[in-house]
């Protein structure tokens, strides 16, 4: 919160001679491709080590890597937000955690570990949600780095940082570095809110999650996945009523597994296993230590201007050889977060509100609001005149989308 005290950990006794020998070679002189704004020498070191305040969101696979590297490169005032506790399946890559830490909050453990290992670094953890914090909180940072696993959280922080930008005040622009991994593939990007393409601009690049039609699950299962979905989507609510399925609870997974296995047996379908059951219901994404190391880079470069920073999207695919692709993702005019222009859509006069919402959800613009329910079956054209504007909001996201609706055949 805004009331938090900024403790300056400048040049403590822990800064032994030659501690930053390696980093200083880069900071003491420019290279052939260094930006002209780079001020080699003491000024940039002072900023990095004494003034720069950085926020890391997520203390998972990426978060651990980011934290350790920020600390070693000389950032001294690091804040960390994470809402999760440590699970045993994190230990194959989240190297700041040990078996004894299972069950403890990631943010707290990671902060303790890094402060112990890298003397003089202050890591301020917050065990909770990013949504708990307000604009004042986010305004105090020079830079935000995300190692998140949820699209929703990324959209939230992206929109929040875009909203923070005050054109009169350059300090209000907080660069956002975002990354993600899946198996041997990784990606990283730099977002300069309002200046470059933002997270919302590139939503259409996301892979659509695999979903199975409900009629297949209910009537014509063919794959083990269909049996597992039957257990989790249909049987769980039928048997357990309102009790929420906890995909982290081994007993719940065990129950789903036995139900799915019984159904598979009935239909002579092979391949239902415990691991697959867990994979399907939790939407488990394979993850290894090596892929996480890719994108801890950009903070140092942005904070110091010691080298050009990523413009603005980097993808690395390691399944066959090593293949990488760096490109500039462009801003989208109709981006509901940073575009500023209303989105024009043309629909049939017969469309119901439900169809419109379905279309918007499919494009991942918005999710269904309960308040809209009574109107679902009404025609859009009964509610909105041709060329009229509709403002679409979602409770989970801090922005709204303006639609200009025209009707086909007018």
């Amino acid at each position: 919160m805004a009331t938090e005290i900024h403790v300056n950990c400048a040049a403590t006794s822990s800064d032994w001679q030659d501690r930053y020998y390696h980093v200083d070679q880069i900071l003491d002189r420019p290279g052939p491709r260094t930006d002209p704004s780079f001020l080699a020498g003491d000024e940039v070191k002072d900023f990095l080590r004494n003034k720069c305040k950085i926020l890391v969101i997520g203390a998972g696979g990426l978060g651990c890597e980011i934290l350790a590297n920020l600390a070693l490169t000389g950032f001294k005032d690091i804040h960390l937000i994470d809402m999760d506790t440590i699970d045993i399946s994190n230990l194959n890559r989240q190297f700041l955690f040990r078996p004894a830490d299972v069950g403890r909050p990631k943010a707290i453990v990671a902060a303790e570990y890094v402060m112990k290992r890298v003397p003089g670094v202050k890591v301020t953890p917050y065990y909770g949600k990013i949504q708990d914090k307000d604009d004042d909180y986010y305004s105090q940072f020079n830079l935000v780095i995300c190692g998140l696993d949820s699209v929703e959280a990324r959209r939230w922080i992206n929109a929040t940082l875009v909203n923070l930008v005050d054109p009169e005040n350059p300090e209000s622009l907080k660069p956002l570095i975002d990354g993600g991994t899946e198996g041997f593939k990784g990606q990283a990007r730099v977002i300069l809110p309002t200046v470059s393409s933002c997270y919302e601009c590139s939503l259409d690049m996301l892979n659509k999650p695999t979903t199975f039609p409900i009629c297949t699950i209910a009537n014509t299962p063919r794959l083990p996945e269909h049996c597992i979905e039957w257990a989790s989507v249909l049987e769980w609510p039928r048997v357990h009523g309102d009790k929420k399925l906890d995909t982290d609870d081994p007993e719940h997974i065990g129950w789903l597994y036995s139900i799915a296995a019984a159904r598979a047996k009935e239909f002579k379908i092979e391949g239902v296993t415990w691991s697959l059951t867990q994979g399907v219901v939790k939407n488990v994404i394979p993850a290894i230590a090596s892929t996480n190391a890719y994108h801890c880079w950009y903070a140092f470069k942005i904070a110091t201007s010691s080298a050009a920073y990523l413009n603005n999207y980097f993808m690395l695919i390691g399944t066959e050889g090593v293949y990488s692709y760096t490109f500039e993702h462009e801003k989208r005019d109709h981006c509901p977060v940073c575009g500023g222009e209303a989105l024009e859509i043309s629909i049939s006069r017969d469309w119901t509100v439900e169809q419109l919402i379905e279309m918007l959800t499919e494009k991942q613009y918005m999710y269904l609001e309960k308040a809209t329910r009574p109107n679902l079956e009404k025609k859009v054209s009964d509610l909105v005149p041709d060329g009229g504007e509709v403002v679409v909001t979602a409770s989970t996201l801090p922005f709204s989308l303006s639609l200009i609706v025209t009707y086909k055949g007018m």
Partner: protein, 524 residues
């Protein structure tokens, strides 16, 4: 029984597992990538790291976490002030003056109790002299920023015998780096290729053909008709086509369109998605199923010659020889049939019936394939080989450094991939100039002059050379924590591919520029 394919239906669908054990839970996210076979290869591996630098410990961190069996750090240096500042696996100021290998082994060991770590503080020079067998006893050897004379000796030693471990050479300075894997031969069964094997719709096996022709589409009710799997629809439509076209397949664009229209005309209701699926998959009818050219190329591999086979130790080449004979002898001249049927619009009964047909036939073809094997091979390996027969890979490498001795190849590479080649050459020049003394930085001029001696005085360097040379001159001895972390990720990933023999490792010199953030590969 070694695989699910060979289980009977009762065992395959009723064996209930209990909740996974601690180890399986810990490794869950990676087992989904390389399964138990990959994990067991990792667990029996022994990795040697030469130097305990920040880059070396970053690489090791990403190998210890997924659970290699053993690692040794060979390093006689003591922790310096600067080491203590850039290496996460040293305890800051407290580690200064202690052996770097010992400190790093202790702190890396905390990451995973099941991994055994050793520190060795002898010099590489003495071991190369007196104890080379010790080096060759490892599964893989990794060297970071190793002195070029020692590196040449080490790479020559490890190249001597095909049984010796691969060597990963990693070099970095400031924002720039490259790495190279020296190996003689690397065979991959589970390449995790994204191409899927043929369903052989154009050459249906007898049971599939009979099944497709026996169905009476006309007599089905609309539910049943809407659930005929597309494979069956296509096999039948193609047989009918061949009958009315003197046995030939749809050839011209017009014929193919006509065929597709014919498929859609079989619909009895507009919304029958299975027929839409059949139309979309119709290309399978005129894509001839034959042995893929990459696999045919493997059949002329020198390792399959009679002399080589007599002394050959690896089951891979015996399997490949059997595959060659099988494809020559079997009447379709194709690879053994896949037992994996993709999902398709259908009801349970029709889908499972089709799946059974494929499984039964695949099992028969696998048995036929096995009859060509001259040596006994583990059943699980045979299963995996047959399943991946369409995506087998054999890589043959070159010794470290041959690229720099081939002026013609360098000149070609300088014009085709100037940025990558210049960085590689600048790093090579730095390593030649650096003789243990880090108190004097090499000048840009001396780096350029050294590059000219490598590529030849008459070769003109492209403009990109300035960027590479300037950057190396700026920070010749700088090992940035972030470059170390990035390299740690990439190198560990390639090492995991080498050890597990899954996925395809990079071939050639992988060059990394973390100023403009890109990677590229040269000298393959």
């Amino acid at each position: 029984m070694s695989s699910q394919d060979s289980q009977d239906i009762e065992t395959a669908t009723t064996a209930i597992e209990s909740a996974p054990d601690t180890k399986t839970r810990r490794y869950d996210r990676q087992l989904r990538l390389w399964a138990a076979t990959g994990q067991s290869a990792l667990e029996s591996s022994r990795v040697l790291l030469i130097s305990g630098s920040a880059t070396s410990t970053s690489i090791l961190k990403n190998l210890v976490l997924p659970g290699i069996g053993h690692f040794t750090i060979l390093d006689h240096a003591k922790v310096s002030h600067s080491d203590a500042g850039n290496n996460f696996f040293l305890e800051g100021y407290n580690s200064i003056g202690k052996y770097r290998a010992e400190e790093a082994v202790r702190l890396l060991g905390e990451l995973n109790d099941s991994v055994k770590g050793c520190a060795d503080t002898r010099t590489l020079e003495s071991i190369l002299e007196s104890d080379p067998e010790w080096i060759t006893s490892f599964t893989i050897v990794i060297a970071h920023n190793l002195d070029h004379t020692l590196l040449n000796k080490l790479s020559a030693l490890l190249w001597k015998d095909t049984k010796y471990p691969p060597l990963v050479v990693v070099r970095s300075a400031g924002f720039l780096a490259d790495f190279y894997i020296q190996f003689r031969e690397h065979t991959i069964i589970e390449s995790h290729s994204e191409t899927s094997p043929s369903l052989r719709i154009d050459k249906p096996f007898p049971a599939l053909r009979e099944h497709a022709l026996s169905l009476e589409f006309e007599k089905m009710d609309s539910t049943e008709h809407g659930h005929i799997p597309y494979v069956v629809i296509l096999v039948r439509a193609l047989e009918n086509w061949k009958e009315s076209h003197g046995g030939s397949l749809p050839k011209s664009y017009e014929e193919r369109q006509q065929f597709k229209e014919g498929v859609l005309a079989l619909k009895v209701k507009e919304d029958e998605e299975n027929f839409d699926e059949a139309e979309a998959q119709a290309y399978r009818c005129w894509t001839e199923t034959k042995v893929p050219s990459e696999i045919t190329a493997l059949f002329s591999d020198p390792a399959l010659s009679t002399e080589a086979m007599d002394s050959n130790r690896s089951p891979f080449f015996h399997l490949l020889a059997a595959l060659k004979e099988y494809t020559e002898q079997c009447d379709t001249h194709t690879l053994p049939l896949t037992s994996t049927l993709p999902d398709m619009k259908s009801d349970t009964h029709n889908y499972i019936r089709l799946q059974r047909l494929y499984k039964t036939r695949a099992e028969e073809e696998k048995q036929a394939f096995k009859s060509y094997l001259r040596v006994p091979v583990d059943d699980a390996m045979v299963d995996s080989f047959v399943k991946n027969a369409h995506a087998l890979v054999v890589l043959r490498g070159k010794p470290w450094g041959t690229f720099n001795e081939d002026k013609a190849a360098l000149v070609k590479s300088l014009s085709a991939m100037p940025k990558e080649t210049c960085i590689h050459l600048a790093l090579s020049a730095l390593s030649l100039l650096q003789v243990g003394d880090t108190s004097v930085s090499p000048s840009a001029e001396s780096i350029r002059a050294k590059i000219q001696t490598i590529v030849g005085q008459s070769t003109e360097l492209p403009a990109d050379a300035d960027n590479a040379i300037g950057e190396i001159a700026r920070a010749p001895f700088s090992e940035l924590p972030n470059t170390a972390a990035f390299l740690g990720g990439m190198v560990a990933q390639e090492v995991i591919k080498m050890i597990t023999k899954q996925y395809v490792p990079v071939k050639g010199y992988c060059v990394i520029d973390l100023i403009d953030t890109w990677t590229g590969t040269i000298g393959a």
